[in-house]
């Protein structure tokens, strides 16, 4: 019975203490000068920047190791395709030159 009471009381004091602590923190924050608060924020921002930089470098290292080859292939892929199309077209026109000449001779009245 005593033990229970004690525990209850300790619970109560703990929760009460926690509340009080939070209240105290709140008070302290309010009491804190604006300058100090900004300083603290800046420092935390710096920390997060550093974390992002580390993450980015790790990521880029991964990309460099794994993603380099497809990037290199993709860059010259497009112009080659276009050139091929043009070449095929020109080849076809060259191949059909004699046909075109004959057609013009046989249907000269249409041109």
């Amino acid at each position: 019975m005593r033990a229970i009471q004690q525990r209850r009381s300790s619970d109560g004091t703990q929760s009460c203490c926690g509340l009080r602590q939070a209240q105290a923190d709140e008070d302290k924050r309010h009491a804190e000068p604006v300058e100090a608060r900004r300083l603290r924020r800046d420092r935390s921002a710096g920390d997060s920047n550093f974390r992002y930089a580390a993450l980015a470098s790790a990521l880029s290292a991964g990309v460099l190791a794994a993603g380099c080859i497809p990037v290199q292939i993709q860059a010259p892929d497009r112009p080659i395709e276009i050139n091929l199309n043009v070449n095929i077209r020109q080849e076809v026109i060259v191949r059909l030159e004699r046909d075109a000449e004959e057609l013009l001779q046989q249907n000269g009245d249409l041109f």
């Binding site: 043009v86 077209r89 020109q90 076809v92 026109i93 191949r95 059909l96 030159e97 046909d99 075109a100 000449e101 004959e102 057609l103 013009l104 001779q105 046989q106 249907n107 000269g108 009245d109 249409l110 041109f111």
Partner: protein, 133 residues
């Protein structure tokens, strides 16, 4: 000997007549005049087109459309024989036409690759379609 050469000459004359006859005899004068007047002109797709802004009579329109249909028939027939598409044959013919000053004469209008109507002048070379080069 003389008889033989004369008969040979006659045969050659006959052959050249039959080859040249359709080209000279059936050419549509109305279309020829319209070309000279800059109402219609050759296009890079191998067909005749109406110059933008030109007043086209119903008669002329009908003649040009019939001419284009006959061209298409010739292209289609040739495409099947040459194992090519109709558009490819038409483009190949357009290359010949654009590079032949007898077919695309000075003063006539033509439509270039970009769809722009231009005039063939003595001082300026024809804008030949890019695929012809």
């Amino acid at each position: 000997m003389t008889k033989r050469t004369s008969s040979l000459a006659a045969a050659i004359a006959m052959l050249s007549m039959t080859l040249a006859a359709p080209a000279l005899a059936q050419r549509d004068n109305v279309i020829a005049e319209a070309r000279a007047a800059g109402l219609v002109g050759e296009q890079t797709d191998g067909y005749l087109g109406f110059v933008s802004g030109a007043q086209i009579s119903a008669d002329l329109r009908g003649r040009v459309e019939q001419n284009n249909m006959r061209r298409r028939a010739a292209y289609t027939e040739r495409a099947a024989a040459a194992n090519a598409s109709v558009a490819e044959i038409a483009a190949a013919v357009a290359c010949e036409v654009f590079q032949d000053p007898q077919r695309l004469r000075v003063g006539e209008r033509y439509r270039d690759d970009a769809g722009q109507w231009r005039q063939h002048t003595a001082s300026q070379a024809v804008n030949v379609p890019a695929v012809c080069n």
